[in-house]
């Protein structure tokens, strides 16, 4: 196409200079490569941009959860049972400004209801320190260390803690538990979507590219899987995993189960794109000029629908996270001692616990934030996926 235009210009022989004159501000848009156009469109979607940063932050927390968490998530600190989220002050009771600090809390137990309450003692301040020593761990599983992002210095840690999101019935730090939970919950979202992507692309590709009987069979299978209500099906399948399996195996099994339904959505997207693309002139042109089928798929078709796949992937991750949470929540997915957001929410099932310590719902907030962030990002990607459409 470009050569044709060029040739025409030479034939005209004149007015090359005018042609340049014609190409004014619009030129930037016309000559930009597709990925740049996509980025421009994505950038316009403010919520998508913000969400992307939120997700990067969440995944960083998931990767470095030992470093971010100030406490060992499994350590039950009996002196700090059901502590509400600790207030962080930068101004003391006399109105003086300080580096962020917490007050010493005094614990009291109501003799009648046995309800524990904590009151701030404004006379003792514990400044929060960055990079404090705490429990020992291996950073990214490699380097042993005991430095944590924030916390109280060891001498103060005995009397008081910084519990950003409070503690549970056993005195475990909710914030630390949510950080650790992010690792399982967020990675499982990715893993199962990745798995469903592989199934989906292969089967959807076969279905869309070859059509015919293969297409009919795969479409029937997809319809069949979708006929069974998802949660009851997932419940039945997860219940089939023996209860004595180690965490890793259950994690893997659950990923497989989630991908079992997830791939049908990917396959539909891939198939639809393939069908649309099969009719395109550039595919016909490639075929006529003797390209092999593999080359046509990899070189010509894949790049032009990669963006759709990425968008569909992003929009599917939140479903996976929600399903994992739901299953673990009712006790059929991951089980303690594994820590995922769903497992943590089990605590909220206990009405008494929920009423006395509503902050046990905090893992739910984490779920909602990540689900929304993925949705917004997916929306942005979908809009950007086809930069030539208006």
């Amino acid at each position: 196409m470009a050569e044709l235009v060029e040739a025409e210009r030479v034939v005209e022989g004149q007015g090359i200079e005018e042609e340049q004159e014609l190409a004014t501000s619009g030129e930037k848009i016309y000559v930009a490569p597709p990925w740049k156009l996509m980025w421009w469109r994505f950038r316009k979607h403010k919520m998508a941009l913000i969400s992307t940063w939120v997700l990067i932050l969440l995944y960083l927390v998931a990767i470095f959860c030992e470093f971010v968490a100030p406490y060992d998530p499994d350590q039950a600190m009996i002196q700090f049972k059901q502590v509400p989220p600790t207030k962080i002050h930068i101004r003391d009771s006399e109105g003086q400004w300080h580096w962020p600090f917490v007050y010493q809390h005094i614990r009291s137990v109501d003799p009648e209801t046995l309800r524990i309450s904590y009151v701030e003692d404004t006379s003792i301040r514990h400044p929060i320190r960055l990079f404090v020593p705490g429990f020992a761990y291996k950073l990214v599983g490699l380097w042993p260390t005991n430095i944590h992002l924030f916390g109280l210095p060891p001498e103060a840690a005995e009397q008081q803690g910084v519990f950003l999101l409070g503690t549970d019935r056993l005195g475990r730090d909710m914030f630390a538990r949510i950080c650790y939970g992010a690792r399982l919950s967020l990675s499982m979202g990715l893993a199962s979507v990745f798995l469903s992507l592989i199934f989906g692309v292969v089967l959807g590709g076969i279905s869309g590219y070859y059509g015919g009987r293969a297409d009919v069979i795969i479409q029937r299978v997809i319809e069949f899987i979708r006929t069974i209500p998802t949660i009851p099906l997932y419940m039945t399948l997860s219940a089939a995993m023996p209860r004595d399996w180690p965490i890793e195996r259950i994690y893997f099994g659950l990923t497989m189960i989630l991908a079992l339904v997830g791939w049908t959505w990917m396959a539909r997207v891939v198939r639809g794109r393939f069908l649309a693309m099969r009719e395109e002139d550039f595919v016909l042109a490639a075929r006529l000029s003797g390209s092999s089928e593999i080359r046509i798929i990899l070189r010509h078709m894949l790049p032009s629908f990669l963006s759709y796949i990425i968008a569909a992937l992003t929009l599917n991750i939140p479903n996976m996270i929600l399903w994992e949470t739901g299953l673990s929540f009712i006790g059929l997915g991951l089980r303690p001692p594994a820590i995922s957001w769903g497992v943590l929410l089990q605590e909220a099932m206990n009405l008494r616990s929920l009423v006395l310590a509503p902050w046990v719902l905090a893992p739910g907030v984490a779920v909602v934030v990540s689900v929304l962030a993925f949705n917004f990002m997916g929306d942005g990607l979908r809009d950007a996926a086809d930069p030539y459409a208006h």
Binding site: E12, E18, E21, L22, S25
Partner: protein, 349 residues
């Protein structure tokens, strides 16, 4: 059969689209008149503002477009019975400023369909896919003529017969997708004509059709016009159709009328360089091959709507432009001969 009775007058119409990327001046100062019974061709490349002008007259400019200034006046005859036309020149004429009406108001709604009707570009997409054509035509009749269902249906069948729809009685209940493109367009024409409008706006009605069907539809429109006597505003980019259909032509470029003339003058003595270029770009039978003239195309493309060139908007593509003049001054609209106007600095008196 040019009539001396004014039907529509458009004065300095400006319709802009306010998009995130900027303002598109789709129609930017357009003046023209349509007379009773006249067939006016509107010619121009895609995106020159032809369709937006038509939609401005109907007051159905889609959002985010808006008429920002100008005046559109409809001169409505109060007695529109065809037999009386011409015999009684002192008919009551009602002057309605369409630009002052509320586009969704009752008065504008009663003008659309009765006084001014539209035949759109794509007959398939212009019919609702889930309603039968009979339903869609009878709806207009019931809306404007206040008749019951049975009368409306009978009139629908009459109208379909009038536009040459085969077996109208049996096919009145067909759905659009059961009909061929030509039949759909006939149905749309029947819908437009069923309340005997004074002006029929045909917006490239044959673009989506094949050549044979196009010829049939054009013949149909001509016959209907001589039968019913309405004026037609025929929008097209096809100069051949203009030659066949129209008496007068306006040529539009970048939201402005650049030339207005009779159809003969358009082909024999075009004045505006753009019109001349348009005419050079159509192949002609019997052109002398000895000359080995290449079929010319107009240089470049329509400029970016966000960055309209300064001065005459056509100057970057114009062969005859004068440096320092055309890229600076707004061209005036000059009446070179009676009835032949042109917007070009070359004809500045």
């Amino acid at each position: 059969m040019k009539q001396d009775q004014l039907l529509i007058s458009v004065k300095d119409l400006r319709t802009y689209f306010f998009l995130d990327e900027g303002t598109v001046r789709a129609v930017d100062g357009v003046d023209f008149n349509i007379w009773y019974g006249q067939t006016l061709g509107v010619v121009g490349e895609s995106g020159c503002g032809k369709s937006v002008t038509a939609r401005s007259i109907l007051r159905i400019v889609p959002r985010p477009g808006r008429i920002v200034s100008g005046e559109i006046t409809l001169y409505r005859k109060c007695d529109r019975s065809p037999s009386l036309r011409g015999e009684n020149p002192s008919q009551q004429i009602e002057e309605i400023k369409l630009t002052d009406l509320d586009p969704t108001g009752r008065e504008m709604c009663s003008i659309r369909g009765t006084e001014i009707a539209l035949v759109p570009q794509e007959p398939m997409a212009s019919l609702s896919p889930v309603h039968s054509i009979g339903n869609q035509i009878a709806e207009v009749i019931m809306l404007h003529q206040r008749v019951d269902k049975h009368t409306a249906r009978a009139r629908t069948i009459e109208m379909l017969e009038l536009v040459g729809f085969p077996k109208p009685k049996e096919r009145v209940d067909s759905l659009p997708h059961q009909l061929s493109g030509g039949l759909r367009q006939r149905a749309v024409i029947a819908m437009a004509l069923c309340c005997h409008p004074s002006l029929l706006i045909a917006d490239e009605p044959t673009t989506a059709l094949d050549v044979t069907t196009e010829a049939q539809i054009l013949r149909l429109l001509r016959n209907l016009q001589s039968e019913l006597g309405m004026a037609i505003m025929y929008i097209t980019h096809n100069l051949g159709v203009v030659a066949q259909m129209c008496e007068d032509v306006i040529v539009m470029y970048m939201g402005r009328v650049v030339e207005e003339t009779s159809v003969d003058a358009l082909f024999h003595s075009p004045l505006h360089p753009y019109t001349q270029a348009l005419l050079r770009s159509i192949p002609r039978l019997g052109q002398k091959t000895r000359e080995r003239r290449r079929l010319e195309s107009i240089r470049g493309t329509v400029p970016d709507p966000y960055a309209i060139p300064k001065g005459c908007s056509f100057h970057p593509r114009c062969h005859q432009r004068i440096r320092g003049v055309c890229d600076q001054q707004e061209p005036p609209y000059v009446e070179v001969e009676p009835g032949h106007k042109v917007r070009c600095l070359l004809y500045q008196p």
